[in-house]
């Protein structure tokens, strides 16, 4: 296949950063040449270990996810019965937790744990890239920082889901959904911490803020804390769990949050640019892909398909 200009750029950057020697460059170039234009063929034919093949998250990120996940749910379940006291489930849930005398201790303790997790995360996302910059390995496209490309990817992905486009866009390590979710969670965490602290230290907030807005601020925080909590819980329940558990192809779960590894097929499908970097960084992956392409007769160059049946309406195999 011929890489898009964008993918070519990512590949070049990665090879430069990793100081790939000429032999390696040649090998990669040949491998890219062998790859079919249709990436769908790639991700449907690779063999994946369900617990993951390719590195994705460091141990720090996994610990932070675990901490966020545990603290968030426990905070939600201890807080929601108090905020939404007039709903039928509020009282039984609160009783189940052990009453407000217990739940308020849990809530505050976990709030501190959540804030510490945020600080831990801030350290990770600052020191990690700093180290990369220092080593000359930093790539902004490989981070979660939103770029204009994400909007284009989003549009193209929708076109693909609608059946208009032939392939999913070539997305980077973090796709548009992940970036959106990350910044929503980051924003939500800040809202929860600020509003939560305004419940715990209302007098201190009032003494810091100007007289004109002290009252409005407190009222806004009273409104924001349960609203943001409920919204976050619904987004987690409806969307994040859908994405990682219920989506077809992801069912019953992805193991990335525990193993830190992503499956090969997922990497190629949704993070193709990152897969190109994997090819540069992990020589074994090159040989795996090459063997697979040969064994499955997917090589683009000079290869004739033996598939006897005619192909479907829109799915013509790429011309040799």
């Amino acid at each position: 296949m011929k890489l898009s200009a964008e993918a070519q750029k990512v590949l070049e950057t990665s090879m430069r950063i990793n100081k790939t020697d000429d032999a390696g460059r040649k090998e990669i170039a040949e491998l890219i040449h062998l790859m079919p234009y249709d990436r769908v063929l790639l991700y449907k034919n690779v063999v994946s270990n369900p617990v993951g093949d390719l590195p994705r998250y460091s141990i720090h990120i996994r610990i932070q996810h675990m901490l966020t996940f545990v603290t968030f749910l426990a905070l939600a379940f201890t807080g929601l019965p108090v905020a939404f006291y007039d709903h039928f489930w509020a009282e039984p849930l609160n009783t189940l937790i052990g009453g407000v005398d217990v739940s308020r201790i849990i809530h505050r303790t976990l709030a501190v744990a959540m804030i510490l997790t945020m600080i831990y995360h801030i350290f990770t996302i600052t020191l990690g890239p700093l180290a990369q910059i220092f080593k000359g390995r930093f790539e902004i496209r490989r981070t979660i920082i939103p770029l204009l490309k994400d909007l284009v990817d989003f549009k193209n992905d929708l076109l693909y889901f609608a059946g208009i486009r032939d392939q999913r866009p070539e997305m980077d390590k973090f796709m548009y959904k992940q970036k959106l979710h990350y910044f929503a969670a980051a924003f939500g965490n800040i809202v929860m911490v600020v509003s939560g602290s305004s419940f715990l230290f209302p007098d201190i907030w009032a003494s810091i803020l100007p007289a004109d807005i002290a009252s409005h601020f407190q009222e806004l925080m009273r409104l924001s804390h349960p609203h943001e909590a409920l919204l976050a819980l619904l987004v987690i329940a409806f969307w994040h769990w859908y994405n990682v558990h219920l989506a077809p192809g992801r069912f019953p779960m992805q193991w990335t949050f525990l193993t830190g590894k992503i499956t090969r097929e997922h990497q190629i499908e949704e993070h193709f640019l990152e897969y190109l970097r994997n090819l540069v960084e992990i020589p074994e992956e090159r040989s795996y892909l090459q063997n697979m392409l040969v064994a499955r007769e997917l090589r683009e160059e000079g290869h004739v398909h033996e598939d006897p049946e005619p192909v479907g309406s829109s799915g013509d195999a790429p011309a040799p």
């Binding site: 991700y43 449907k44 994946s48 407000v100 889901f161 002290a214 009252s215 919204l231 989506a247 097929e265």
Partner: protein
């Protein structure tokens, strides 16, 4: 109904009540009031159709705080038997004839607390106009607490010493209970206080009636008066208190002066009254009882938060915006998830597992992992 008819009715009621009488008397009835008032059917129907019972349940009254007070100490207008029609009845500022205040030697009376109450926003006469009767009288809150000296085990090692001189164990135990009851904390719990205050302040018909009356008289009611109970329950104080948390402020923590609790709960005043702890001049001090660093800014925070357009447009619009953001986000994400499902199903992904993954269906590409190498 004439006087004569009343008496005939009464007699009739007494007669049908006779078979039900005969309960054991738990206290001394030297005045003979129970001659008549022991009959359960003793009562009448008033001119305006209300049923009144005059039955004194000896087994209940015998356990109340007033059980040792002779009837005519309070019912001091009774001069003959059978007595005449009662007009006002007992008011709580009546002086007792036989019970002396041991400290002053004067006749015992609830008059000091009654006077404090009469000066408060709740003060009213016992018999009063229809509108005024929205306010609570003493017995609205004080239901003449029933307690049984025998219900808690009295520490025998203590009373054994008393009995040596006072001889009568029953006397000793009842005095011990009388004293210990007053020494112990008899404050109502936060939940009870909120229930008590809400029993009137949550009554929309009472609120409407008083708003209308105030308007007619050109008076001003507190701006939180119509929403006091519901907004408290919606506040942070109310939310944790309803679950039994005892340290958050209840109604009396702010509206009464905590320094002299038992007196000040009878002296509740509107916040525009300079004597109220909620008056602008005293508000900061009141907040500081719990919120150590409270200042003037803090005192502007509304403890009875409303969120309707008229009284609080800022929060009204903020909530509208929040709601719309929530609806749009949730609907958008569900729509995206559904759209994605459709798209990826078309691509061949499904929920069925094969070889540890759910990519397995053959599809338009006709190339999938089912083709074993």
């Amino acid at each position: 109904m004439t006087m004569k008819q009343s008496w005939i009715t009464l007699l009739f009621l007494i007669m049908i009540g006779i078979p039900y009488s005969g309960t054991v008397q738990a206290y001394v009835d030297e005045e003979g009031c129970l001659l008549c008032h022991k009959y359960p059917k003793m009562g009448r129907i008033t001119e305006d159709g209300a049923r009144r019972t005059y039955y004194v349940m000896p087994h209940v009254f015998g356990k109340t705080v007033h059980r040792n007070v002779p009837c005519r100490d309070c019912h001091n207008y009774i001069e003959e038997l059978p007595h005449r029609e009662v007009e006002t009845g007992v008011t709580c500022n009546t002086e007792c004839h036989s019970v002396k205040n041991p400290a002053t030697g004067k006749n015992f009376s609830h008059k000091p607390i009654y006077d404090a109450y009469r000066d408060s926003v709740h003060g009213r006469d016992k018999i009063t106009s229809e509108l005024e009767s929205d306010k609570p009288y003493c017995i609205t809150c004080h239901t003449n607490p029933i307690y049984n000296p025998k219900e808690e085990s009295i520490p025998k090692r203590v009373t054994d010493r008393c009995v040596i001189c006072h001889e009568d164990r029953e006397f000793v135990e009842s005095w011990y209970s009388h004293t210990s009851r007053r020494i112990r904390e008899v404050k109502r719990s936060s939940i009870e206080i909120i229930e008590l205050c809400s029993s009137c302040h949550e009554d929309q018909s009472m609120v409407d009636r008083r708003l209308k009356a105030a308007e007619a008289r050109g008076e001003e009611l507190g701006k939180k008066f119509p929403v006091a109970a519901e907004t408290y329950k919606d506040s942070f104080h109310g939310k944790v208190t309803r679950y039994g948390f005892t340290e958050a402020a209840n109604c009396l923590d702010c509206h009464a002066d905590y320094e002299n609790y038992y007196l000040s709960v009878h002296e509740i005043r509107p916040s525009r009254d300079p004597l109220s702890p909620m008056h602008d001049d005293k508000r900061v001090e009141t907040c500081q009882r719990c919120h150590e660093y409270a200042n003037e800014n803090y005192a502007t925070i509304d403890p009875h938060p409303t969120k309707d357009l008229e009284s609080n447009p800022f929060i009204y619009y903020a909530e509208e915006i929040y709601n719309w953001i929530s609806y749009v986000v949730i609907a958008g994400l569900i729509a995206l998830a559904l759209f994605e499902t459709i798209g990826r199903r078309r691509d061949g992904a499904s929920w069925k597992l094969r070889r540890g993954s759910s990519w397995w269906r053959s599809n338009r590409k006709r190339k999938d992992r089912d083709r074993v190498i």
